[in-house]
């Protein structure tokens, strides 16, 4: 199968690309960033997904399947720019899929869509509303992109669309939201709160995405790995030191004293869990994670120290 991956240079996307290549698929990619030392069988177009040249890739190469991983998730990127990439980029991907005959499109989203709040349920099903809009306004564009991608199910009924909401990923790449958060020696916590954190090995995450492609999924699916663990256990197992800070001081210490810089909305995620129920995805695909929580943390530690 010919598979196009917008956002191919991202850590997880590269891993997906290599796995698909090994499985015998033809893989193409689009990204603004270069992929130095990409396998020679993978053709990477260094362009912006929103530009005309990206449409040309769809027109010329007619991919059968598209895995959309070109959303910007780093909160450090200026908001306005990020909003445009995430929303107009997503629109472009689905429009091109529909116009140039792609059969399947997978949108790779995140479980933080559900938001963290005192009164939200512990295990979110796919039907739960996107509460992150309220609790973590900085994630609004990712929530909107997720919902917009889901709307392709009725806008382009002939296209098999699946929206995957992945838990945090962790592993030897030492990249991603969670790896950045626990990257330093000290990790902040909100005094008196110890929410459950759910994460999976990045290799399992890549496998899950490949499996979604193989099984021709349609719909919205939560994707997770091992059972969640309290933040304090995660921090200690990762060899970091938890630093409980009273909530009123928290914003003042973000980015100081060796603690990571976090946007104000992140406080809710340090107080309340975002945990997803992935039973539908497992039932539909037969997915089983290979790395448990300790092996996942160990893989992160083996590189991050």
């Amino acid at each position: 199968m010919k598979v196009l991956i917008p956002g191919i240079t991202g850590r997880l996307a590269r891993s997906v690309a290599v796995k698909l290549l090994e499985a015998g698929h033809q893989v193409l990619g689009i990204d603004r960033r270069p992929w130095i030392n990409a396998p020679k069988e993978i053709e990477v177009f260094q362009i912006d997904i929103r530009k005309r040249a990206a449409e040309e890739v769809f027109r010329k190469h007619r991919p059968e399947a598209v895995i959309h991983m070109a959303t910007v998730t780093h909160l450090t990127v200026r908001n306005d720019d990020r909003f445009r990439i995430n929303l107009f980029g997503t629109r472009a991907v689905f429009d091109h899929c529909a116009h140039y005959g792609a059969k399947r499109c997978i949108f790779v989203g995140r479980h933080t869509y559900y938001g963290a709040a005192a009164d939200s349920s512990l295990y979110h099903g796919e039907e739960d509303p996107p509460f992150a809009m309220t609790t973590f306004p900085e994630l609004a564009d990712l929530v909107a992109a997720d919902l917009y991608a889901g709307s392709a199910l009725w806008r382009y009924p002939e296209l098999d669309t699946s929206v995957l909401r992945l838990s945090y990923t962790l592993g030897p790449s030492v990249s991603g939201t969670l790896a950045t958060f626990i990257g330093g020696k000290r990790t902040p916590m909100v005094l008196g709160f110890d929410p459950l954190f759910q994460f999976m090995h990045e290799d399992d995450a890549a496998d899950a995405i490949c499996l979604a492609l193989e099984k021709q999924l349609r719909g919205v699916f939560n994707v997770a790995g091992p059972q969640p663990m309290p933040l304090s256990t995660l921090i200690r197992t990762a060899g970091r030191q938890p630093v409980p800070v009273p909530e009123f001081l928290l914003r003042a210490v973000f980015g100081r004293f060796g603690l990571p810089a976090l946007p104000p909305g992140a406080v809710a995620h340090l107080k309340y869990p975002v945990v997803i129920d992935d039973s539908t995805f497992r039932a539909k695909t037969g997915f089983n994670h290979r790395y448990d929580e300790d092996q996942t943390i160990a893989a992160f530690r083996s590189v991050a120290g």
Partner: protein, 271 residues
């Protein structure tokens, strides 16, 4: 023996039929070590501070989904704590009862951490249903906060029951084990409730006793578990049908309260 580490409680926590991983955590984030601490305190209160008499414990299924449904009284949820203690200390094998706690507790530092590590989840229908579908034991007070709000002279009464628990029992096919808790209102005799100040803290009310704080008196307590009730029907049945189920459960609990109160007084009258 440390107050926070009762060896009997520790052994019982080990015997819980719950899927703990090697960190001693279950999928809800319930932690063995926190259960040991909490139930060690409860065991001391249960055995040494109050004397709790339990009748009909055999009516509680040893495993599988079930709902404990009973009356609420006594300002703070002392009744809930003692019912959970009886499940841990009197059942064989021991069971972890999981109650639905008031949402405001989740806003309070340490309280939020403690409730989630001991399996006492926020009172949401999704949580109740998940616990039952996982074959666990759910503790429900259908009177809700209105139950613990009762004043001393109302302690043996029952206020209106919500109907959610009946629809839940029907949708999950969970048996209802009715119970009566006697003595909650004697332990914490509420003479008035403060509502306006409570709202400031996000709590439904603050109970005031003759000694101001809701510190429980050292009184005997009694819990009566009745025979399980298996309801027939659908959760979408008409309100009138559901209300009839609610009323029948309420009557069973009222009868248990009457029987329990009588025996309680007889026992207290003994020299």
């Amino acid at each position: 023996m440390s107050l926070l580490r009762d060896p009997d409680v520790e052994a019982r926590v080990q015997r819980l039929e719950i899927p703990f991983n090697r960190h001693g955590l279950d999928p809800y984030g319930v932690a063995k070590k926190d259960l040991v601490r909490w139930f060690s305190i409860l065991a001391w209160l249960y055995r040494n501070y109050f004397t709790v008499t339990v009748e009909g414990i055999r009516n509680v299924p040893p495993r599988g989904r079930a709902m404990l449904v009973g009356n609420h009284s006594g300002g703070v949820a002392l009744d809930g704590a003692m019912v959970l203690a009886s499940m841990m200390l009197e059942m064989d094998p021991p069971r972890l009862g999981q109650a639905m706690v008031e949402k405001f507790l989740n806003l309070i530092p340490f309280a939020a951490e403690w409730t989630s590590r001991t399996g006492q989840l926020t009172g949401l229908p999704e949580h109740a249903e998940r616990i039952l579908r996982d074959g666990r034991l759910l503790l429900v007070f259908p009177e809700g906060a209105r139950g613990t709000e009762k004043l001393y002279w109302e302690r043996h009464s029952l206020v209106d029951f919500g109907s959610g628990f009946v629809r839940l029992a029907l949708s999950t096919h969970a048996p209802i084990v009715p119970f009566a808790f006697i003595g909650g209102g004697d332990a914490i005799p509420t003479v008035m409730n403060l509502y306006k100040i409570a709202r400031f803290f996000g709590a439904p009310y603050i109970p005031i006793t003759p000694w101001l704080l809701p510190v429980p008196r050292r009184v005997p307590l009694r819990i009566l578990y009745g025979e399980p009730i298996v309801l027939e029907g659908r959760p979408s049945d008409d309100d009138a049908v559901i209300e009839a189920h609610v009323e029948s459960v309420k009557q069973r609990i009222a009868a248990l309260i009457a029987a329990g109160t009588e025996r309680h007084h007889e026992q207290k009258a003994l020299p």
